[in-house]
């Protein structure tokens, strides 16, 4: 096993629940590397909801809160507000974050509270066995869209930007290094950061979305069908937009705003 992984994993919790070739392992490694590079392991807590992707932090030897479906951001905000000087990273899935947790995402973005979200978008409900998620592409046949999906799919990163998040990036599981760098940047950023990762769920979205359950095929597909966005560029259509999509350092962070507003009313601290 990789030395870094060895230092971070709860070895007695292994093996993980993840299927062979699942993108969750890549994301887990990118997150560990980011935390290690920033030297913030002891000052960081990890919070997740429910779904395969929400199991990513549960194997790490850190302070971890594995909460209820869709609510990770609500728990995380309570924790962050209680300990403003510490770091909170949230792991969530496309279902967890965009469906059941949508209201909390809306308000967390709007507040611009200093939390980093890693949104693992595998376009499907992996954990419950391959049902349609808000991010499932049109026409995909899933367990609950037997005639092909007809909802317009939601774009996590763009939604976060429109709601007021101040650092937003998107990468795929085929961009592990860039992903790690963005996680680092997101953690360092003072404000709400969301990093969407287009990830593979060979077991479920393999069939429903890619028509191929081979993880190597999906990774290749992601590599070939994505582009890295640069400001002002002409965007190729039909390909996954990757890169740092927004980095706004001007909007004040929520707890700062709260503290500024209430400072004179605090009698003792």
């Amino acid at each position: 096993m990789n030395r870094l992984m060895e230092r971070y994993l709860r070895l007695d919790a292994l093996p993980t629940l993840f299927c062979a070739g699942c993108g969750n392992g890549i994301i887990q490694y990118a997150a560990i590397s980011a935390i290690e590079n920033l030297g913030i392991r002891k000052d960081t807590a990890l919070v997740s909801g429910i779904g395969c992707s929400s199991w990513i932090p549960c194997y790490l030897n850190m302070d971890v809160m594995h909460t209820t479906h869709g609510r990770a951001l609500a728990f995380a905000q309570g924790l962050k507000l209680a300990r403003p000087g510490k770091k909170v990273i949230v792991f969530t899935g496309d279902g967890d974050c965009l469906a059941i947790g949508g209201n909390h995402l809306l308000h967390a973005c709007k507040r611009n509270i200093d939390i980093t979200v890693i949104l693992v978008n595998n376009h499907i409900y992996g954990m419950t066995g391959g049902q349609k998620s808000p991010a499932t592409p049109e026409n995909a046949v899933t367990k609950t869209s037997p005639f092909g999906a007809y909802d317009e799919p939601m774009q996590g990163a763009e939604i976060a930007m429109s709601l007021g998040a101040t650092y937003v990036a998107r990468w795929t599981a085929a961009h592990p290094v860039q992903l790690q760098k963005s996680i680092e940047a997101g953690i360092k950023h003072k404000g709400f950061s969301l990093i969407e990762v287009i990830s593979q769920c060979p077991t479920q979205s393999g069939k429903s979305v890619y028509g191929n359950k081979d993880p190597a095929f999906i990774i290749n597909y992601l590599k070939q069908n994505s582009f890295i966005y640069k400001e002002g560029m002409e965007e190729p259509s039909g390909r996954i937009k990757c890169g740092i999509l927004l980095h706004d350092n001007d909007k004040p962070e929520y707890i700062e705003r709260m503290e500024n507003k209430t400072e004179q009313y605090r009698k003792r601290l």
């Binding site: 809160m65 209820t68 309570g78 300990r83 909390h104 009698k267």
Partner: protein
């Protein structure tokens, strides 16, 4: 057992007139609560309003969340951040919190949740009182767990029981519900409140199934909603370990019921009729008992907010006491859950009748029926939003007893 009320703090106490909801908020501050998250809802709103400034002035954190689900989740998160935390709500909001209450129970997170009951179901009766959530408070979240719930009947008890709720939740590392109602939430009374902050010790390890540290203290905790072992590691797929876990989190409360329970009795020494009441209804019940005994009501009681009382007092002075033949006492249950079965059995041992007035369709009486097999348990339900008057109670009791004779 005597009720375990808050001891006066060394910094002293003073008497003030407060509204019930306000008293609850003040008690939370005194108990060391430094995090409040909530969402406005009648008839609990004064708590969130009061704490929006009070929490700030004591250096705590206040946030109005996007809904009650988020509020309940936020207080759990804050508690793992090391802050004592509370939320307050009513009917519909309490329903939304149920999933998180189960999460707090299974993760052994000490938090206090106030439910100022109003009439339901659904939007129901936003401004009227009820005791309809007496079962929801115990069984509202899915799965097997135990809950501690306290039912205040006065502004003083709103204050004292809130403090007690924090003590119990920290001691047993479990969510505690203050199950108030609109009557006690909104009435104003003279109460004794304390200065300073009560030191409430947390993390009594011997009661806890999975001892975990607060976050950011190097504990590498795994707070896990799946059934888990002492380390937080999931065991949900292992039948025998899972059974053991459920027995442990239920057992830590059931097996310490003597420490938790708070049941008061009035005039029960040689009573053969008991009124068993909880929450605001126990006020009427106590007045009814005093009426039957011909005991003069105190000035407070006469001038109290309860309209019917005046009517009753007037009526009584004009006629003979028609209820003097009723040898009646009161059993007042302050901790409705865990169900103080032994204590109730002991107090009602000599009773022929136990009357259970409740502002619902007759719910808690089923528990009483189950535990008191030797006497006649009679449910006195009242729905619609008004409390039973003492006169009503006495009439019902006299009628029942007469029919039997």
């Amino acid at each position: 057992m005597e009720p375990q009320l808050a001891e006066p703090s060394p910094k002293g106490s003073r008497k003030v007139i407060l509204q019930g909801n306000e008293a609850c908020a003040k008690a939370a501050i005194y108990a060391g609560c430094r995090f409040f998250a909530g969402y406005p809802i009648t008839p609990s709103t004064e708590i969130i309003e009061f704490l929006s400034s009070e929490m700030i002035s004591v250096g705590g954190t206040f946030i109005q969340m996007e809904d009650e689900i988020a509020s309940a989740c936020a207080i759990v998160g804050a508690r793992w951040g090391g802050k004592k935390a509370m939320t307050a709500t009513s009917g519909p909001g309490f329903t939304l919190m149920q999933e998180t209450i189960g999460y707090a129970a299974v993760t052994e997170t000490p938090v206090v949740i106030v439910n100022v009951q109003r009439g339901g179901p659904s939007t129901g009766q936003p401004t009227m009182s009820s005791q309809q959530d007496i079962y929801q408070v115990k069984y509202g979240s899915h799965g097997d767990y135990e809950i501690i719930a306290m039912t205040p009947s006065s502004v003083q008890e709103m204050y004292d029981f809130t403090i007690r709720a924090f003590e119990l939740s920290e001691k047993f590392r479990t969510p505690v519900i203050l199950l108030a109602d609109e009557v006690v939430g909104h009435m104003r009374e003279k109460v004794t409140i304390y200065e300073g902050e009560k030191a409430i010790r947390g993390g009594h390890r011997n009661y806890v199934v999975s001892p975990q540290e607060d976050f950011y203290t190097g504990g590498n905790c795994l707070v896990e909603g799946q059934l888990h072992d002492e380390e937080g590691m999931r065991i949900g797929h292992l039948p025998s370990k899972s059974g053991e876990f459920i027995r442990s989190i239920c057992g830590k409360i059931q097996n310490h019921i003597d420490e938790i329970q708070d049941v008061q009795s009035y005039f029960m020494e040689d009573a053969d009729i008991a009124i068993l009441a909880y929450g605001s209804v126990s006020r009427s019940a106590l007045n009814a008992v005093k009426q039957a005994k011909g005991i003069k009501l105190s000035a407070d009681e006469k001038e109290g907010k309860l309209r019917f009382l005046k009517k009753l007092v007037r009526k009584k002075s004009a006629e003979e006491n028609p209820y003097s033949h009723l040898n009646v006492g009161l059993i007042k249950v302050n901790t409705v859950w865990p169900f103080p079965e032994k204590q109730i059995r002991r107090l009602a041992a000599k009773c022929r009748y136990v009357f259970v007035p409740e502002m619902n369709n007759g719910k808690y009486c089923r528990e009483i029926e189950r535990c008191l097999k030797e006497c006649k348990v009679i449910s006195l339900p009242k729905i619609g939003g008004e409390m039973h008057s003492p006169a009503e109670l006495l009439e019902s009791i006299a009628k029942e007893v007469k029919e039997d004779e």
